[in-house]
């Protein structure tokens, strides 16, 4: 791997992808507005928001919040970088989980009922999506015999042909990770309010901005994984991923928020069963 290649990949992971992530969030707000018969904010709105947040006064409750935010950001950035360098998928998920845990720790470290309840719910969200994500990756492994993205991408036929149900599981994972209804119970995107701002209640200014940016990285990582399903047809994969995002937005607008137990029942009842069927079929046929 030459230097140019490394620089290119870093540029992709550190600059291009997060910008696309921000644009997707902007598109999300626009589309949501249109679905509600409104005009909606400009596509660049998420960037304006983050810039504004950076310029605000910095208010914190304790030091651990700050450290948690930075660890969250670092782990999200690192997991996307590892993705562009085509490393081990399972390792990437583990790295991403560091950030998720610290986001919760940061919120729990504040003695506000809203942050605390939000954090507890976020934990339940993690409990819902993490096994699903691992199983998606296990499905890919069963098809390709490796966790390495480079190897997963080295073979001809797209994974979606044999893992269609796991791609559907991705809908649940993405919904939870994007904090979309019906899984937006720990904190939700933009105008929807729950528990004030749930998990994010006691973050403001710079720190909230950093969390937003980390969120873009996370989003891009998940969309990257969903694109993997279609490799080598990258264009098709990108279209499918965008379709996935739009589907999430539609679901967001037509469903109501679930309770924790319902969420666990849905994600386990539906997600795990779909994953189990798909993996079992693949396992038996091979």
């Amino acid at each position: 791997m030459n230097v140019l290649n490394i620089v290119f990949r870093l540029l992709l992971a550190l600059v291009v992808f997060p910008i696309i992530g921000g644009l997707i969030v902007g598109l999300d707000r626009k589309l949501t507005a249109r679905l509600q018969g409104r005009y909606g904010p400009p596509i660049l709105q998420p960037f304006y928001d983050v810039l504004k947040l950076f310029s605000k006064q910095r208010i914190i409750v304790n030091e651990f919040q700050v450290i948690s935010v930075f660890i969250y950001l670092a782990s999200s950035v690192l997991s996307l970088v590892l993705f562009t360098f085509q490393s081990d998928l399972l390792m990437i998920i583990f790295v991403m989980s560091i950030g998720a845990v610290f986001l919760v720790v940061g919120a729990l470290s504040v003695k506000s009922a809203y942050s605390q309840v939000g954090a507890q719910r976020e934990l339940m969200q993690m409990l819902s999506y993490e096994p699903l994500l691992i199983l998606i990756i296990v499905g890919m492994y069963l098809m390709r015999g490796s966790f390495n993205i480079a190897v997963i991408m080295s073979q001809g036929r797209p994974l979606i042909e044999e893992l269609p149900l796991l791609f559907l599981v991705m809908v649940i994972v993405l919904g939870i990770k994007m904090r979309k209804s019906p899984f937006d119970l720990s904190a939700s995107e933009h105008a929807h309010q729950e528990l004030v701002r749930g998990l994010l209640t006691d973050y403001s200014g710079l720190y909230l901005g950093l969390i937003d940016i980390a969120h873009w990285f996370d989003l891009m990582l998940l969309l990257g994984i969903s694109t993997l399903f279609f490799y080598p047809h990258i264009v098709l994969g990108i279209i499918a991923s965008l379709f996935l995002v739009i589907l999430e937005i539609v679901i967001d607008n037509v469903t109501a928020r679930l309770t924790v137990k319902w969420m666990l029942t849905y994600s386990y009842g539906l997600g795990l069963v779909l994953a189990a069927i798909n993996i079992a079929v693949v396992y038996i046929l091979r």
């Binding site: 904010p41 709105q45 810039l51 004030v196 701002r197 209640t201």
Partner: protein, 147 residues
Amino acid sequence: MGLLDKARQRSPWLIHYDCGSCNGCDIELLSCLTPLYDVERFGIVNVGDPKQADILVVTGSVNQQNKSVLKNIYDQMPEPKVVVAVGVCACTGGIFRDCYNVVGGIDKVLPVDVYVPGCPARPEQIIDGIKLAIDKLAQKDVVKEEG
């Protein structure tokens, strides 16, 4: 700093506090969010968390019971911040100003930047007022940086 200024003006998040209004102004304020007016066009988001808000929009007159609450919400907002008083009650106390428990307009408790009179204030007026508040927000920051 052009971009940063632009970003500040394009992303005003506001928190709305009903200080004891008759709900007339509140309904008008919320109607600004509806498809007809859609203030999200301007990047305005109605947040529930003062820690993340830039503009405090208050309706209704302040009374003895809730003046500390109002102050508390204002104190939790990070600088730079502006206050908009919506409706005549919030501006001066309105017809309630002589009540035994009423303190008066919210400027008795907080430094108000923009007054939007009316009973109730019309959505167009409110949007106008918030636009003024956004301009003030940018100015405030400049003043703060120079100071």
